[in-house]
Amino acid sequence: MKRFWRHFKSRNQERQELYKEGRFFNMLESFQWPWHVPFGEFALKLDSLSLIFLTAVTILVLCAGVYAVGYMRQYRTTKSMGLHIFFYFLLSTALVLIVLANNVILFLGAWEMMSISTYFLIVFNDEKSSVRRAGFLYLIMSHCGTFLLILMFFLMAHNAGSMNFEIISHSSFPVAFAGSILLLAIIGFGIKAGFVPVHIWLPHAHPAAPTHISAILSGVAIKMGIYGICRVLWIIGVLPDWCGYLILIIGVVCGLMGVLYALGQHELKKLLAYHSIENIGIISLGLGVGLLGQSHHMPFLSVLGFGGALLHVLNHAIFKGLLFMGAGCVIQRTHTSDMDLMGGLARTMPLVSILFLVGALAICGLPLFNGFISEFIIYFGLFQGLFHLPLQGAFTCAVGIISLALMGALALACFTKVYGTVFLGEPRHLQEPPSTGKISLLMIIPMLVLGGLCLWIGLFPQIMANAAFQGGAYLSHTDLASLPMGTIFYPLSLVISGVFLFFALVLALVGIRRKLLQGHAQPVRETWGCGFFQMTPKIQYTSSSFALLIVDFVKGILFFRREGGDVKGKFPAKTSMSSSVHDASEEFLFKPLFARLTSFSKKLDMNRIRYTQIYLMYIFLYLIFLLVWKLK
C-alpha cells in the first residue's frame, strides 16, 4: 500500500508541475470580439470552473445527439425533424456560450437562447395537451427566473461599472449588498436548477420531452443554474456568514424532498426527474460546505466542498444521462412509462439492463462507480467541517452528513425499486409486450460510453478529481499548491484499492462457487410459492407497493393520496385502488398562487368590454408612478 501511495504521490507531483507551467487545466484562455450590442462584447473565457461544466456539456450533448439519431427514428414518418434538429444545435451552442461567456449581456443572451430552444425541444410531442402545458409552465418559470437574473446582474454591473465578469470580480461589494445579490441568484438560478420549492416545472417538463432532451435537461441544463450560482460566488468572493448555512440547508431540503418524491412516483421519467432535484441538493450541500469554509477562512475545507460539488456536477451529468437513455429504451420497448406495468425486461434487453444497473449503482453513490467518489469528497468535507468549525457550523455539518446518508439510503431504496420492478421479476401486465420498438445500435453506443465513463471515474478518479479541485480552488480564490491535498487524495486512493479488493474477492468467490457446483445438476423450477401454485405475475410487488412503507412513514411531508380499495362485506365486490404522491409545493404554494393571480387578472379584465380607456388609464397610472419614482 505504501508503494501504491508513493507511486501516486510522484504521479501527483508530475501533474502539479504541469499545473505550474499552466499547461494542464489551469490555462486561462480568453477571447474577445467586438460586438455591436450596447454594453455587450463577445468575450469568452475558459477557466477551471467553466472547464468542468464544459466537459459535462460536451460529453452529454455528443452522447445525446448520437442517441437521438436512433431514438427519433420512430417519429421519422410522422413528424418533420428540421425544427427539432435546429433547436438542438441552438441549445448546444447556448450551453457552450453560457459556460464560456465573460460578459453579462452575452451571458443573458445565451441564457435566453437556452430557455427558448429548450422550450421548443420540450414541446416536440405538441399534440398532447400535457406536453403543451409542461412546456408552458417551463417557459413561465424560466422567465420569472430570468427577470430576477437580469435584476441581479445589472445591480452587480452597476456597482462595478462594467459588464465584464472579470472586471466585476475585481470590484468590492458591501457585505449586505453581496448577501442580497446572492439571494437573488439563489432564487433566479434556483428556478433553473430546481431548488425546492421552485422546482415545480421540472417534474413536468422532463417526462414530457423526448428522452435525449430529458437527458440534456437533467444532465446539463439544470446544472447551468448551479453554474450561475458558482459564477456569482466567484464574482462576489467575500460573502456574509449566513450564505453558507443557507445553501447547505437548501441542499438538505432539496436532497431529501427530491428523493422522497421520487420514491412516490411510478412513472419512470418523472422519478428520474425528481432524482435530479435530489442530486442538485447534494451539489448544493457541497457548495454550502465550501462557502462555510470560505467564510471561516479554511481554504482546504472550501476546496473540498466546492471540488466535491463540481465533481458531482460532472458525475451527475454522466449517470443521469445514462439513466434517461436507459429509460428511453425501456419506454420505446414497452410503450408505457408506468413502472407498475413493467417487469422482466432484463431477459429481453440484457445489455440495456446492465447499463441501467451501472447508472443506478452510480446514482446511489455506491463504490465502484463515480457517484461514490464525489459523495466521498463531500462527506470528507463535511467531516472536516464537523471537526474544525465552531459550534453552529459543526452542528450544521452534522446535519449535512446525516441527511447525505439518508439520501443515499433512500436513493438505494428508490433505485432497487426501479431496477427490481422494471427489469426483474415477471412482466406485470399479462399480455405480451409489443416488440415493435427495436433498440438500434446508435442508442446503445452512447450508453456504453457513459457507462464506461461512470466506471472510469469510479476506479481512476485522480484526473477528474484534480480538475474538480482546480475548479474548487479557483472558485474560492486559493492556490491549490499551498493546500494539503494529500489528505484527501491518500484516502481516495485507498478507497479505490478497497474497491479493487472487493473486486478481487468477488472474482475469487465466483471461482469457489463454480468449483463447488461442479458436477452438480442445477435444476430450474418455478419460484417457490410457499406451497401455493399457479401464482400470477399480478401478485408481485409493484413499484408503488414496494415504496409504500416509506411513503406512508413520511406522509406528513409528502402529499399522499389514496383512493378506493375498500373491501366491504363477506363477499366483496371487485374493487380498485389507486395511490399517488403529489407535490406539496405545487399543491399548496403554486396552485393557490396561480388561482389568485388568475382571479385578479380576471377582475382587471372585466372592464375591458366596455372601456378601452381603462387600459389607457393603467398605462397612465404607470407613467405617473415612474415619474414619481424618478423624482424621488
Partner: protein, 307 residues
C-alpha cells in the same frame, strides 16, 4: 506483499471464528427454552452441508439472483478488513474508511433487495420492501453513531474511532459512550436481523424481513448468504466490544482474551434478548430505530455541549 498477508490472515480469523458466535446464540436460546440444543459448531456443519449441495434456480431469475450472495459475502469480507479484531489491527485503515464500510454494505444491500425482487414472488418482494425501509432508518442511526464517535475521537477512521485507540475512555466521555453503546446495540440487532426487529428463525413470511428475502436461495448460494450473515454479526460485534471495554493492557494474550470474552458476553446478551423478548410489531420497529437515532444524536449533543 506484507499487506496482502495481513489481510489474508485477518480474513482467516474472521472466517473461522464467525459462525461460532451464531452457535453460541442458539445455544443460549435453547438453554432458555429448557432444551439441550444443537452443538456450538452447528453453524459450521450447516455451512458444510450447504456447500456440498446443488442449487435450484427459479425460471424467473436472472444473473442478479446468483450475483447477490457472492457480492454480499465479498462486501462483508471487505468490511471485516477495516475492523480491528482485538489485538489484530485492521489491515486497511485510512481516514474516511467508515464511508467505505457503510457504502460497501449498501452495495451488498442493493443486490440483496434486487435479488429478492428478481424471483417475482410477492413474499420476497415484501421482505425487500421492508429491508429497503428499515435499512434507511438503521443507516440513519448508524451514521449518527459514526458522527458522534468521530466527533469524540476527531477521526473518521474506524480503527481510530473504536477500542483501545480511543484517546478518551469511559472516565472522560462516559455519558456519550453510554448513549452510543445503547444506540449501536439496536443497530446491530437491526443490521443482523435479530429479535426484536426481525426473527432469524421462523419462516412465517408475513413477519420477517431478512429471512424472507433469501427464501429462494439454496445450496451454495444460501451457504454464502448464511456465512455473510455470520461474518456481519461478528464484525459488528467486534466494532462494539472495544467501545465497551477499551482495554489496552499491553499483553497480547490478555487483550485477545478480553476481546473474545466481550464477544462472548455480547452474543450471550443477544441470545438472552432473543429468548426473553417478543418480536416487535412491524410498525413499531421504526420507532425503535428512531430511538436509536435519537440516542446517538443525544450523545452528539452532549459531546458538542461539553466542547
Amino acid at each position: 506483499m506484507n499487506i496482502i498477508f495481513l489481510i489474508l490472515s485477518h480474513w482467516l480469523i474472521v472466517l473461522t471464528l464467525s459462525p461460532l458466535f451464531l452457535g453460541i446464540i442458539s445455544k443460549v436460546k435453547a438453554f432458555f427454552a429448557g432444551k439441550k440444543g444443537p452443538s456450538f459448531f452447528q453453524p459450521y456443519f450447516d455451512l458444510q452441508r450447504l456447500f456440498q449441495k446443488n442449487s435450484v434456480y427459479s425460471r424467473t431469475t436472472t444473473w442478479i439472483f446468483c450475483a447477490a450472495p457472492i457480492i454480499n459475502l465479498a462486501a462483508v469480507l471487505v468490511l471485516s478488513a477495516l475492523v480491528p479484531l482485538g489485538t489484530f489491527k485492521a489491515p486497511v485503515k485510512f481516514s474516511g474508511d467508515i464511508l467505505l464500510a457503510a457504502y460497501i454494505l449498501g452495495f451488498a444491500r442493493f443486490f440483496m433487495i434486487s435479488a429478492a425482487l428478481d424471483t417475482g414472488s410477492s413474499f420476497e418482494g415484501m421482505g425487500a420492501s421492508r429491508e429497503a425501509f428499515f435499512s434507511c432508518l438503521s443507516e440513519l442511526a448508524l451514521f449518527m453513531n459514526f458522527i458522534t464517535l468521530s466527533f469524540v475521537s476527531h477521526s473518521i477512521s474506524l480503527s481510530a474511532m473504536i477500542g483501545a485507540n480511543f484517546p478518551l475512555s469511559w472516565t472522560l466521555m462516559g455519558p456519550v459512550l453510554l448513549l452510543v453503546v445503547g444506540s449501536f446495540f439496536i443497530v446491530i440487532l437491526t443490521e443482523n436481523a435479530r429479535i426484536p426487529i426481525d426473527d432469524p428463525d421462523t419462516h412465517l413470511e408475513l413477519t420477517m424481513i431478512h429471512e424472507v428475502m433469501i427464501l429462494d436461495h439454496s445450496g451454495v448460494d444460501l451457504g454464502y448468504m448464511l456465512y455473510a450473515a455470520a461474518i456481519k454479526f461478528f464484525v459488528f460485534a467486534s466494532i462494539m466490544v472495544p467501545i465497551i471495554v477499551p482495554v489496552q493492557s499491553g499483553n497480547t494474550a490478555w487483550d485477545m482474551l478480553i476481546f473474545l470474552g466481550g464477544m462472548l458476553v455480547l452474543s450471550v446478551t443477544v441470545g438472552i434478548i432473543e429468548s426473553t423478548m417478543a418480536r416487535l410489531r412491524l410498525n413499531r420497529v421504526n420507532n425503535l430505530l428512531l430511538i436509536a437515532f435519537a440516542l446517538a444524536f443525544f450523545g452528539f449533543v452532549v459531546k458538542m455541549w461539553r466542547m
